[in-house]
């Protein structure tokens, strides 16, 4: 005989009932346990009558396991409770995503940027080595994450309590809903502005920036380096392409994969050119009637150095723009353009 069958099986039943009782609300404990006990005894009696003998401990264990874990059994008698209810939960998740995207991701990017491009910050934080710096940043990130998400959670728990009492979310007006929009729709006003701005920019660019001597006055003369010619023609070409693209967008005001890809290419090229320009020491010479040669050289170098220092910011902005453009390409590939959608709907009817 195994050890498990040597004890009194009814002892298991009492222990089970006691465990369930622990999780029940006090005013109902007695009543619920009496009924549960009666049900279990009925089942045991019936099984014993079938077998023609008392149940052993293993058989009792099977019955109790079928009933389920005491906490779960008790839980079914408890009212449904939640810190954040089903009405607010989707909003809560949405806010968490926004916090993660606009607070935590920038936090990480700023840290990476500071470590890469700020020598003083890097020196300060890598005193204990790179591993120590990463561990320290990881710890700080956890703290920031818990603080941000914890704050949002607490706010929503409070909102849930208020909502449960006032039901403020039930008071809504369909007229106040945002207008239905197609994400691939291009506002015509935006296209008009783009055409005008690109054309004006092109004219100004040809008029002012075509020569290496961009400013030639008695008091000051600014000369660009020969590499500027590449930038001049490249930016002019981009302005023309953008103006044409905006013109097409004006006529067909929804993004297609092709036009979104062209926009990605032009934005990518513009970002690349800007990055190169920051590093290319474009300014060749500044001179003026009241500026000494040494001072002019100092100013020229300072401007070129300043431009080079701005490079990470330009790069970061370029990456953000490119990512947005890539997203637009995928969205345009996935979504049926609005006019085509209307045709499909008409065919379906």
């Amino acid at each position: 005989m195994s050890k498990s069958t040597s004890r009194n099986p009814m002892d298991l039943l009492d222990r089970y009932l006691q465990a369930v009782r622990f999780w029940l609300p006090k005013p109902q404990q007695q009543d619920i346990i009496a009924e549960l006990s009666e049900d279990l005894h009925s089942q045991v009696e019936e099984q014993e009558a079938e077998l023609g003998r008392p149940l052993n401990e293993t058989e009792m264990e099977v019955i109790l396991k079928q009933r389920g874990r005491p906490l779960l059994v008790a839980n079914r008698y408890l009212p449904q409770r939640s810190l954040i209810g089903p009405v607010l939960f989707p909003i809560y998740c949405f806010v968490l995503k926004i916090v993660a995207f606009f607070y935590l991701v920038p936090w990480v990017l700023v840290w990476i940027g500071m470590m890469l491009f700020s020598s003083s910050y890097r020196a300060e934080h890598t005193a204990a080595g790179w591993f120590g710096a990463i561990a320290s940043a990881w710890g700080a990130l956890w703290f920031v994450t818990f603080f941000a998400l914890g704050t949002v959670t607490i706010v929503f728990v409070v909102l849930e309590q208020v909502q449960a009492k006032s039901r403020f979310l039930e008071d809504w007006n369909p007229r106040k809903l945002p207008p239905a929009r197609n994400p691939n729709q291009i506002p015509r006003a935006g296209s008009v502005i783009e055409v005008v701005v690109n054309l004006m920019f092109g004219l100004w660019w040809i008029d002012t920036m075509s020569s290496l001597v961009v400013l030639n006055r008695p008091e000051i003369r600014i000369v660009l380096s020969p590499v500027w010619r590449y930038f001049f023609w490249a930016f002019l070409l981009l302005a023309v392409i953008n103006a044409v693209l905006a013109g097409v967008n004006l006529a067909r005001p929804y993004w297609t994969a092709l036009r979104a890809s062209i926009r990605l290419a032009t934005d990518g090229a513009a970002s690349g050119l800007f990055c190169w320009m920051m590093k290319a020491s474009v300014l060749a010479q500044i001179s003026g009637a009241h500026i000494s040669t040494a001072r002019a050289l100092e100013i020229t170098n300072a401007i070129n150095l300043g431009a080079a220092k701005v490079f990470p910011v330009v790069l970061a902005v370029g990456i953000v723009i490119a990512l947005a453009d890539v997203y637009r390409v995928f969205r345009a590939r996935k979504t049926v353009p609005a006019p085509l959608k209307r045709e499909v709907s008409a065919a379906a009817v």
């Binding site: 009666e38 049900d39 009925s42 389920g68 079914r76 379906a348």
Partner: protein, 126 residues
């Protein structure tokens, strides 16, 4: 065309309809029916264990973890009345339908008939 759209949607977004999905849908379908079945069974007085057996014998097995909380809820809503009484040397809680429960059961059965008629109509149209 509509049929093609549905098939395309199923092929791109659907799953193979695993047993878990079926079980969940069956549970949802049974949930409302169980309440009607319990109310109908309790037109004659019964205690929990015999009620569970009777439902199981009629093909609507319900586990005790669902049945007893449901009985308590229905009693709180005034649809059932209960009474502790000794039978076979043990105290048992007997439930039966209250007058309000009787009325609600009639209304639920009418609703059931209406749903059944609509469903049959839809199935015949399909």
């Amino acid at each position: 065309m509509r049929h093609t759209v549905c098939v395309t949607y199923y092929m791109t977004n659907g799953t193979q309809g695993g047993p878990e999905i079926l079980e969940n849908l069956k549970l949802e379908l049974r949930r409302g029916c169980l309440i009607v079945a319990v109310l109908a069974q309790l037109r004659t007085e019964q205690y929990g264990y015999t009620l569970r057996k009777a439902l199981a014998d009629d093909g609507l097995a319900i586990d005790e973890g669902t049945l007893y909380p449901l009985l308590r809820r229905l009693e709180t809503q005034g649809l059932l009345v209960s009474q502790w009484r000794e039978e076979d040397k043990r105290n048992k809680r007997f439930y039966h339908l209250s007058p309000a429960g009787d009325l609600i059961l009639k209304q639920l059965l009418e609703e059931w008939e209406s749903i059944n008629t609509s469903l049959n109509k839809i199935l015949q149209e399909a």
